[in-house]
Amino acid sequence: MEKLSKSSKLYLALVFVILYAPILFLVFYSFNSGGTMTNFKSFTLEHYIAVFEDTRLLTILINTVVVALLSALISTMIGTLGAIGIVSMRNRKLRNTVLSLNNILIVSPDVIIGASFLILFTMVGVKLGFTSVLLAHVAFSIPIVVIMVLPKLQEMSSSLIDAALDLGATRRDILTRVILPYIKPGIFAGFFLALTYSLDDFAVTFFVTGNGFSTLSVEIYSMARAGVSLTVNAISGLVFFVTMLLVLGYYFVTNRSRGASGTGGRK
């Protein structure tokens, strides 16, 4: 592996600094006793204490995370299978049509998705709340998973599958032993982007939620009129640190055990 040059390192560092700058800004002001994101008065932990006293906010946080994880998981499964199906279509026209249909939800503005899902759910009689939000999130995450998985599938050499077939593999074997391992990076990418979509979504969730079920985004948006409280900054800061810890921890633990067993190489 060639070493990165100084300028390359500098470039990457700059990208990361910009990506994290607004988050550090938020976290910085979460310690502000002044109560707003301007004019830092003095250091305080009151907003962090407030987070743990506010069970409603904590419940909302848990809702947000559960919906994000579950919807990302389900949409990754459906989307991956869908992508495999699309690639194996022989009719080019049909394939392009399905692909275009796939992308419609990515282009559609959230309000339209939200409003049409609301009409759909109330027509079918789904009770608004956890189920409807989860269904909606799965629905708008599927296309991004497909988009992430497709390039990997297209790059996959058919000789791999032919070889497997010649060796007497069943269709099931081909899926679980050949295709899935090969497109795994695409699957993970799809999962993480689905997670991102879900965590960020406001408009769709707003329309399809109800009966007291809420997510962090909906809560933050509706605070805008009277001003977002720094408790939200504090909770975002906490989420950020826990996520970082988990990711770094998980990465180094798995990496070390892998290094010890001597397999190395890619995940």
Binding site: F207, A224, R225
Partner: protein
């Protein structure tokens, strides 16, 4: 494949754990109907301690949900699928909700505390005899400006916003009726004008203001004014109060030509499953002490005259927050102009927005 299966299992386990934790924290489970009251309100628009107090006093468990715009809230209620017992729409939305038959009439036998409300705020055009709504907060539309930056200006007239010295300084709210209202007011026309010629003339006058416009935004204006990033903005009195609290250089004025007077009222949507509880809640919120505490927390003007006696006299006697009767007579409440006219206002507003650059 193994790692995919493992990741799936881990995610499911984590979700299970979190959901268990949530169910431990949530006390609603097992309660329904009469024991539960669902409130649908703007975010940060109530002191949540009061909800806890209400729960303690009545034994009713409150589910609290928030919305970010009148229109979105109405869409949710109209489509059904949920059962909100209380909501706090603005006056023009109340008119629309009445029209669409989305509200339940209020039984004042169950609300003795209505006596605390200043009669000036009762029986207004948008809801005669307050059949469907009870006042919650009220306010005006005016100009907030930074006296340290704009020395010597007082914005007694809307026309001051056209002053060439304000080039690239004025911030407007992203709302068609407020912005066209500036122009209509400055021409001495009604805020509720439905005359297309008048509206067109108002838009043409607005377009002349375009060079002065720095941005057309929403609630973010608070941060900008407090920072000193912006020096003059069209805004609502409640928001102006927030800004002035943070930055002493700021002050608020309602120009002499008149302006808008707005209300957010409590209503009981037709979907309510706990009408009795909803009445209890409204009565609770009208209690003098409760209303005073709430007004203190939210920072908007309360219509509760009994509560005013319990509040900081410095706030209550401040004409900027609580304008006198004479000033209020010059203010006008929005009427529901019907979808077509609202559409026209918005198309003209869009035309104005496209002219800024």
């Amino acid at each position: 494949m193994k790692s995919l299966v493992r990741a799936t299992v881990v995610i499911l386990l984590v979700c299970g754990l979190l959901m268990y934790a949530a169910s431990v924290m949530d006390q609603t489970s097992g309660k329904s109907g009469k024991d539960v009251l669902t409130i649908y309100n703007w975010g940060e628009y109530i002191d949540t301690d009061l909800i806890k107090q209400f729960e303690k006093e009545t034994g009713i468990h409150v589910i609290y949900e928030t919305f970010d715009s009148n229109e979105a809230m109405m869409t949710k209620i109209e489509q059904g699928g949920t059962s909100y017992d209380i909501s706090m729409p603005s006056e023009y939305t109340i008119e629309q909700m009445k029209e669409r038959d989305l509200l339940l009439p209020i039984d004042y036998k169950q609300i003795p505390n209505i006596k605390n409300i200043d009669p000036d705020f009762l029986d207004l055009d948008f809801d005669q005899d307050n059949k469907f709504s009870v006042p919650y907060f009220w306010g005006t539309v005016g100009i907030v400006y930074n006296t340290a930056i704009l020395d010597g200006q007082n914005f007694d007239s809307w026309d001051d916003l056209w002053d060439p010295s304000l080039k690239g300084k004025v911030i407007l709210v992203d709302s068609a009726r407020e912005v066209l209202g500036v122009s209509l007011n400055s021409m001495g026309k009604s805020l509720n004008s439905t005359d297309s010629k008048e509206l067109k003339a108002a838009t043409d006058k607005l377009i002349k203001m375009a060079p002065n416009v720095k941005a057309i935004i929403g609630d973010e204006v608070t941060q900008l004014m407090v920072n000193g990033d912006a020096s003059v903005a069209l805004t609502w009195s409640g928001q102006a109060a927030d800004m002035m609290f943070e930055n002493e250089d700021l002050t608020y004025n309602v120009p002499n030509e008149g302006s808008n007077l707005w209300f957010d009222n409590m209503v009981i949507p037709k979907t309510s499953k706990n009408v009795e509880g909803a009445h209890k809640f409204i009565n609770f919120m009208l209690d003098a002490e409760v209303a005073a505490q709430n007004a203190d927390y939210v920072g908007y003007s309360t219509p509760n005259k009994a509560a005013l006696k319990l509040m900081d006299p410095e706030v209550v006697n401040d004409e900027r927050y609580y304008p006198s009767k004479e000033v209020r007579d010059n203010l006008h409440v929005y009427k529901n102009l019907g979808k077509e006219k609202i559409g026209e206002y918005n198309e003209l507003f869009l035309k104005f927005k496209m002219s800024i650059r």
